[in-house]
């Protein structure tokens, strides 16, 4: 599959490494130039740019991508990236990270999100206080 990962933090980087090892074609979009460089040094394909604007998405291959995983550390950015990529590139599956479980209600089709992932909510569930 052709996969774009928006945000090269811990989750984005580890997902990209694993998916690349499994033979998928993965490109990361990362805002920080320093972080994009260190991702490339790990042998990953990384585009430096704002994943909420079209040029960076196009450079990362959004026109042909099957999946977009949106993993920045800011929920508002994740929603914006999901919205723009779904609207302009009709990416089949947009999966977005929910950082603050209070924002989970926003992560739906109206923002272009097909599936939302909330590690904190999952953790709370396992602890039994969700």
């Amino acid at each position: 599959m052709r996969i774009i990962v928006a945000g090269g933090g811990t989750i984005g980087r580890q997902a990209a490494q694993r998916l690349s090892a499994d033979g998928h074609h993965v490109t990361i979009i990362e805002l920080s130039a320093a972080r994009a460089l260190s991702l490339r040094q790990l042998g990953l394909s990384a585009v430096r740019g704002d994943a909420a604007v079209l040029p960076a998405l196009e450079a990362a291959g959004a026109l042909r991508a099957d999946v977009l995983a949106v993993c920045t550390g800011t929920d508002e950015e994740n929603l914006l990236i999901s919205f723009v990529s779904k609207r302009h590139f009709a990416i089949g599956r947009v999966i977005a990270l929910v950082n603050d479980p209070e924002n989970a209600w926003l992560f739906d089709q109206s923002w272009g999100v097909d599936a939302a992932l909330s590690p904190t909510a999952a953790l709370l569930g396992l602890i039994g206080s969700a």
Binding site: E76, L80, E102
Partner: protein, 218 residues
């Protein structure tokens, strides 16, 4: 009027102070607690410490009964999410937001969100001041892409027709004042020396208009 403002920076705090002085019921939200220090002494509105895209805080701010909402944080993503939530989820009748990064302007437009953007306006304005000292805009439209400019007709243009000054997509003569009387001209209207003419001009075409008026153009 009940107003909720996201962002207590220079713009948000100044707007809040003015609205409160005019008797409006103002509530601000800002994730930086010290931001409330920008509010004037004796400010009777409310300040809530936290993010403007948090549903529980927006509800605490009274968004369900707000008549107006302004998203003025320094983050486009926060402004867009807060403004869309206010308009579509809480049905706030009047919603405005600030555009920070001009590259993200299309997102506001796609969502139909009214955005006030200072960066592009400032760039256009300063660029204009640097290059076109003699033509001062009376009004600018949008983010400064077009403007209304007024100038006297120089003698050498007397006898020319309005249509000769109109450049499709760039310059349009919209009004002529002559001897204290204003009219909307036709293309065939004849210009006279000392007519005071209103032009709507694309910001990139000011130089062209100036060269017409200076007699350095064609």
């Amino acid at each position: 009027m009940k107003v909720v403002i996201v962002g207590c920076g220079r713009t948000g705090s100044a707007l809040a102070a003015r609205l409160e002085a005019e008797g409006d019921d103002v509530t601000l939200l800002d994730p930086d607690e010290s931001a409330q220090n920008r509010l004037p002494a004796g400010f009777r509105g409310r300040f809530i410490h936290g993010s403007g895209s948090s549903r529980s805080l927006l509800e605490e701010a009274g968004i369900a009964h707000a008549e107006a909402f302004a998203a003025l944080s320094p983050s486009d993503s926060v402004n867009i999410i807060a403004a869309r939530t206010a308009r579509d989820f809480y049905r706030v009748p009047r919603v405005f937001s600030r555009l920070c990064d001009p590259a993200r302007a299309p997102i506001y437009a796609e969502l139909g969100l009214a955005a006030v953007g200072s960066v592009q306006t400032d760039v256009n304005r300063v660029h204009h001041l640097l290059h076109h000292r003699t033509l001062e805009p009376e009004l600018t439209f949008g983010n400064g892409e077009t403007m209304l400019v007024r100038a006297f007709v120089p003698g050498y243009l007397a006898g020319r027709r309005v249509a000769e000054l109109n450049v499709p997509g760039e310059i349009a003569v919209v009004e002529i004042s002559r001897a204290g009387h204003s009219s909307v001209p036709e293309g065939t209207s004849m210009l006279q020396q000392d007519d005071f003419v209103s032009f709507v001009v694309a910001s990139g075409s000011l130089g062209r208009l100036r060269s017409f008026l200076d007699g350095t153009g064609h």
